[in-house]
């Protein structure tokens, strides 16, 4: 098999539409290859020099600066990663492939280009949010004086992930100054820029200092998308740091047709998303971009003597310990690097499209069943639905009490999950209990969606019988 090149994606005879990311026999073969490499390495370890013999920049010059369109054989990848000219895998966390991922997501047209800001792979959104909160906090305290921490106000919506509040609390922001601005069904539970302005103006009037906004692309409960453009305008006016949390949904932006969801990201100061959520990376992989790395580094840097060395003193390397909470760094980039090369961009795009198509199919069935209702507009591969209150009110005259309807839906979800056949989750959105199906498992196929629908129908049938 010829090694595919990035330049000629059409040369690759990869079946993008039928790509199977986890074929057991092939997984076994690849895993055994890696194990055997490790064993050979340790058998010969005494023959290698104790310290790496390569200098800063060595790796960057060895690998392409964009991800391949098609998959590459594991042998090539291992050769580059492990068996190359030096036996020790280079332990950088800012793989150029992260940049390649940025490029394939269309970020290079924004200020989040490799030339502008900088990127680091952290463990979770909470790490990323806490890091940027601390950077924004210290940037603002520099202006208003170090004792002003109690004046700082951070903003999110009532749909923002709880990790935002947790991060702000850890950063020492006063609990009374962490705002969760209310959203509504009218705005599809996205944060309204006008509501943000009202909240910010009220705080400024009270002598407080707005300093941070967490906007979300794909909220946890319903995958709502906050309008980055208008929110960014308000934030800019008041000197507020904007972080965009795209934890789950931003993975879809590797497909051109979904890039519109992050329009306005060029106004943001930082942006994070988790390839471990919807892009097949293993857990503990949160990509964070910041517009001004110097601000992040100033907030998080430490320079004890025992961590200094020649290359760090010459500033020839980026010390990623100063870009995150912990000083210890796991070798997180390698899983993303191997993922991008072994899948290829085209397959990743096709997988994203396949999940969204399955979600659309499921949504269509919900829409065609009169007893059910899609709770909020579907943006990605998550469908939120419920047994329709209109139906219950209108036809069966059972109840128009929201608590009763919520309990009914909770019971349906419980019995669905007790079946052991599928697993769905729930959320409370605007006081309404909704059932959520999120499609993105690496083994999920159309047949599972069919099964899910059969199970849902069966348990809705039962519930309606009991409710009648």
């Amino acid at each position: 098999m010829d090694k595919p090149t990035n330049e000629n994606p059409e040369n690759i005879n990869s079946p993008f539409d039928t790509f199977n990311p986890l074929e057991p026999q092939e997984f076994k073969r690849q895993a055994h290859l890696v194990i055997d490499f490790l064993v050979d390495y340790y058998r010969n370890v005494e023959n290698y020099p104790v310290l790496s013999q390569v200098g800063p920049g060595y790796l960057k010059n060895r690998i392409p600066d964009s991800a391949p369109n098609g998959p590459e054989p594991i042998e090539n990848i291992l050769h580059d990663a492990l068996i190359g000219s030096h036996p020790r895998p280079p332990r950088s966390s800012r793989t150029p492939y992260w940049i390649g991922l940025g490029k394939c997501s269309g970020y290079q047209s924004t200020s989040f280009s490799p030339e502008g800001g900088g990127g680091v792979i952290q463990g979770s959104t909470c790490d990323a949010l806490l890091s940027t909160l601390v950077a924004a906090r210290d940037k603002t305290l520099k202006k208003i004086g170090g004792n002003g921490i109690n004046k700082l106000v951070a903003y999110g919506s009532d749909q923002t992930h709880c990790t935002f509040r947790k991060g702000a609390q850890i950063a020492g922001i006063h609990r009374d100054r962490i705002r969760a601005i209310r959203t509504s069904k009218a705005n599809a539970f996205a944060l309204s820029a006008e509501d943000l302005r009202v909240a910010v103006e009220a705080d400024v009037k009270s002598g407080l200092v707005p300093f941070f906004l967490c906007a979300t692309v794909g909220t946890t409960a319903s995958a709502a998308v906050d309008p980055l453009g208008p929110l960014g305008e308000v934030a800019k006016e008041f000197g507020i740091w904007v972080h965009v949390d795209g934890a789950y949904a931003a993975s879809a932006c590797i497909c051109p047709e979904y890039r519109g969801f992050i329009n306005g990201v060029e106004n943001a100061d930082s942006f994070s998303f988790n390839p471990h959520k919807w892009l097949f990376a293993g857990l503990d992989c949160c990509c964070l971009w910041v517009k001004e790395p110097a601000v992040l580094v100033e907030a998080l840097s430490t320079n004890p003597d025992y961590l200094r060395n020649k290359v760090s003193d010459l500033k020839k390397v980026v010390d990623y310990k100063d870009w995150q909470i912990s000083l210890t760094r796991r070798f997180r980039s390698i899983k993303l690097w191997i993922l991008l090369r072994s899948y290829g961009v085209a397959n990743l795009q096709q997988l994203i499209r396949r999940y969204i198509k399955m979600a659309k199919d499921f949504e269509l069935r919900i829409k065609t069943d009169k007893r059910l209702e899609v709770a909020v507009p579907r943006n990605f591969s998550t469908v939120c639905f419920l047994i329709s209150p209109i139906l219950i009110r209108g036809e069966n005259q059972v109840s128009d009490d929201q608590t009763w309807i919520n309990n009914l839906n909770a019971k349906v979800l419980e019995s669905v999950n007790e079946s052991g056949k599928i697993f769905m989750t729930h959320a409370m959105i605007g006081g309404v209990y909704v059932i959520r199906i999120a499609i993105g498992g690496s083994l999920t196929e159309n047949k599972h969606i069919n099964l899910a629908w059969e199970v849902v129908k069966e348990h809705v049938d039962k519930a309606m019988l009991l409710a009648a």
Copy 2:
């Protein structure tokens, strides 16, 4: 091979004194076993129920509550961990083996018993310090009022790891209120309780609020041990939370003869150490004990609706997301669990003793070479030494200038490391540049210590020739 039992350690025919923790052929066999298990699991995944069918407490009842003295065969361990009655590995992070580790370290005689506080495995000391700083901060703010954050003072010594300052800064403690109390050679660079008292009293006099002390067992630079007993007395008097950072050295306390180093830990509010440093665990394994888990949980808890479920509502499970920074949890306990069972306590103890013995041997050679000097008393497996300034001053009359001596030692270290045969590090301790050798690599044997000594001698010879 019979399965060894915990009750009869003398029955085990394990060669504790020659135990090899990384025999390549055996590693290969075990790794292939695990891979094959995973492959079989995914091949049959459709036959399993989607949700775990076991309830809270299931795991705790299945496994012994203390670590075995001798090693167990990997087949038994995998059977219990993975292939047992349920195909999904239980994802608890608070393995009873953590408790077992506590027991074998002698902690059960202190307030750090399983019955008292609680434990969690985090990623790094910075995570552990930040978590406890935030808990202590919020506990104190509850007393003095939520706006008092700028009054809070945190204490460490000039030998405390920089992660303490970093953690305190992240937690919003004012940079001017993070104290690094000076240590001296007279105290072997340990933090003096008297000096702490002086600093605390001065701060109280100024209207500030002392709230946190980071004491260290085995400092980074020289493995100094802060006197936990006397420090704890001072802290108690002023209501200061004491965290004990035993990152590297506390692993030695699994041997009874080294337990004295943590005498006084019963006065501490929290304690952490990293089995990934000196106890063969993979990176990202920091064990944290807290005396009052409720305080930690109050500072770090979040309860969004989408993370609630039946068992969490009934408080039948411990939600470890509230015991750490991130909500996401890696399955960190399994590596410790497999480690403890596959090595056994006796082998772990013997390995610790073997490293300390090697360090002693190396130290003895330094002592017998008149050109060299042991810089600080050796406590564990780290030896700090330098080319003796007395010698240079007294015999060669070259210089008594500290900068000159420091540069000479720096040059020796540089040439030692450039040899590619061994790797040593440095530290500045009380203005003196010292060379450090830390022994603890899983493949390190006596022959490597001999080699290290030969290399050091060779480069000292050269340096003395040049300096003469």
